[in-house]
Amino acid sequence: MLFRRLDMDNKNIIEINNLSVSYYSKKIFQKSIKVNAVNNLSLKINNNTIYGLVGESGCGKTTTAKSIARLVNISSGDIHYYNQNITKLSLDEFRKYRKNIQIIFQDPYSSLNPRIKVGKIVEEPIRIHTKYNKLEIKQKVKELFELVGLNPNHTERYPHEFSGGQRQRIVIAKALSVNPEFIICDEPLSALDVSIQSQIMNLMLDLKERFKLTYLFISHDIGLVKSFCNYVSVMYLGKIVESGSCEEIFKNPKHPYTKALLSSVPIPDPVKERKRKQIILNNEIPSPINMPRGCVFHPRCSMVTEPCKNIIPKKVTIKHNHSVNCNLFHE
C-alpha cells in the first residue's frame, strides 16, 4: 500500500493551542455535571494536506471540529487561522472567516433542510457572502452541480428525491460555493455504502487538487484514513495520544492505544484476516465525566506501569513528523 506523501514546509492553515471544551449537563435539584469533551489539545494543520483525526465515538473529534468553525463555545485555549486568532473575534468579525472554513457533516439525511429545494440550499451561502446578482447565482449553482457530478437540471428538486451519495454531493457543492480554503469533513462517508464511498473520495481528491483545498478529515474508519490522509492524529478521551505522518503511524505505531486500534481493523482478505494478530482491549472507554487520573488510557492499557496512574504523559517527539503522548517514551 502506498501512503500519501507529506510535505511539511508549507504554512499552517490552522493552529490549535491547548484547546479545552467542556459541556455541562444541567439537572434539576442536583449539581450540574461537567463533561470534558476536549482536554488541552494542540495541533497544527498544514496548508494543502489532508489531516486525519481518528478515534472511537465520544473521544472528542467532532467537538474539536466544531470549535474550529466556532459552532461550540470553547473553555480555554486558542485557534489560529493563518496568523489570526479566531477565538478572540466577535461573531460579526468572524463571519468573513466562516466563508473560508466550511464543514461537511456526517449524515446528509439530516444536514439538508427537507423543505427547501436543493438549488436554494446551495445558493444560500453565495447570497450571503458575495455580491452576485440573481442570474449569476443561478449560473454558479449550475456550475457547482456539474462540478460535483450532479445533473444541473435538478436544482428545483427537494432533498428527499436524492440518494445518500447524491445528497452528500449536494452538501459538498454547498461547502464549495463560497470558495473556501479549509473544509472540515466530519465523517462524510460513514453513512454511505462502500461502492458510493469510493465515488465521493475520488470527488474529494479531484476538488482538493483543483481548488488547493485543505481537509480536516474526521473518521472512525481507520482503513479509509490510511489511504486518504497525509497526516494522522489519534484521539482518546479528549486528547491526542499520537500523531504523525500517515506512513509513520501505520508502519510504526508507538502508543499502546494506537497499536490496539490498528490491530482491530478487519482486512477484506480471508488469508490475511485470519493471520492478523489482534490486541483486544479490556473494558470500554471510561466516561468523560470522571476521567481516570494520570494517563487517561491506563485502565485499559496492557503495558501500564505505576507512574501511569498518576503522571499525565507529555508529548514526546520520536522522529521528525511523529510524536506520542505516553509515559513509556522519553526524549
Partner: protein, 322 residues
Amino acid sequence: MLKDTILEIDNLKINFKLNNSVIHAVRDISFKLKKNEILGVVGESGSGKSVTCMSILKLLLEPPASIESGSIKYNGLDLLKISNKQLNKIRGKEISIIFQDPVSYLNPVLTIGYQLSELLINHDQLSKYDSKGYILNILDKVGIPDSTQRYDQYPHEFSGGMRQRIMIAMAMLCKPNILIADEPTTALDVTVQAQIIKLIKELKETNNMSVIWVTHDLGVVAGIADYIIVMYNGMIVEKGNINDIYSSPKHPYTIGLINSASRNIINNRYSMIEGLPPDGSEINNGCCFYKRCSKRLKICEHKIPPSVKINKDHYFSCYLED
C-alpha cells in the same frame, strides 16, 4: 435435503406493497445453511439482506410485506407453512436473532433481568427464581461484570457494547441451533467490535450452532465466515466458499465491491462502481446489476442471467463466463 443442511431457503420472493407501488425486496433467492457453519451474507443497503433474515422467523409485518413464493425449511419443516403458535416454539429457542441496533430492540422500561427471564419462563417453563441463576451464569459468560447488580438495571444504564452483549445473552439463553446476526457490530467501535466477534465465535464453538452473519463490511466476514452470499438488489449475484469469493470473484459486482472495500488506488483514483444504488421499485426483467455494470451486454437488460457453476460450491449469475 442433505444430512448436514440445517436450513434451506428455496425460491424465496418477498414484496412490499405500498400505496401505489410494489417494492421487490427479495427476488427469487435460494441458499443452504450447513450445520456448524458461519454463513456470511454480504451486500449494500437495500440489497434485501435484512428482509431475508427477518423472513426466516416471519418477523416482517404483513402487510405491507408479503411472501410471494418459496419455502424456508428448517430441519425439513417449512417455517412459512406452520402456525404462529408452532413458530413461537422455534423463535428464540431453536433460532435466535441479534439485531444491529440494541437500543431499539431492548424495552427501555423493563429491567434486563426481566427481559431475559421472560424467555426462559415461556420456553422452558422455569420459575423466576430458577431462571435467575441461569441468567447470571450466561451474563458472566458474555462478559458482563457484576452480573448480580446488573440483573436489576435498565437498558439505558449500559453502554452500546454492553447492550449488544445483553442481546447476545438473550439469543444464547435457550442454546439455539441457528443464530441470525443482522449487522451485530455495525453500531459499535472497532475495538468493541473485535470483542463481540471473538465472543460470538467462542459461543459458536462451544454450542455447535450455525450462524448467519449479515454485514456490509467485507473485512468482518473475511475473518469469520466459511461460506459467502453476495446480494444485490434482492438477488444473489454470487455465492461460494470464502477463499474462492475473495481470491477469484467472478461477478462484476463482487469484483467492484471487493476492490472498493480494499481501497485500491490506481493513478490516484479509488476503484469504484459507477452509478447509484437501486431503490427496488423499478421493475426489470434482466440482470439486477446491469445499470451499473461496466461490462454489460445487450442481453443483460432483458433476460435474467443463469446461475453458472464454477465448482461444487461456487456459483454466480452473469452472462460473462470468464
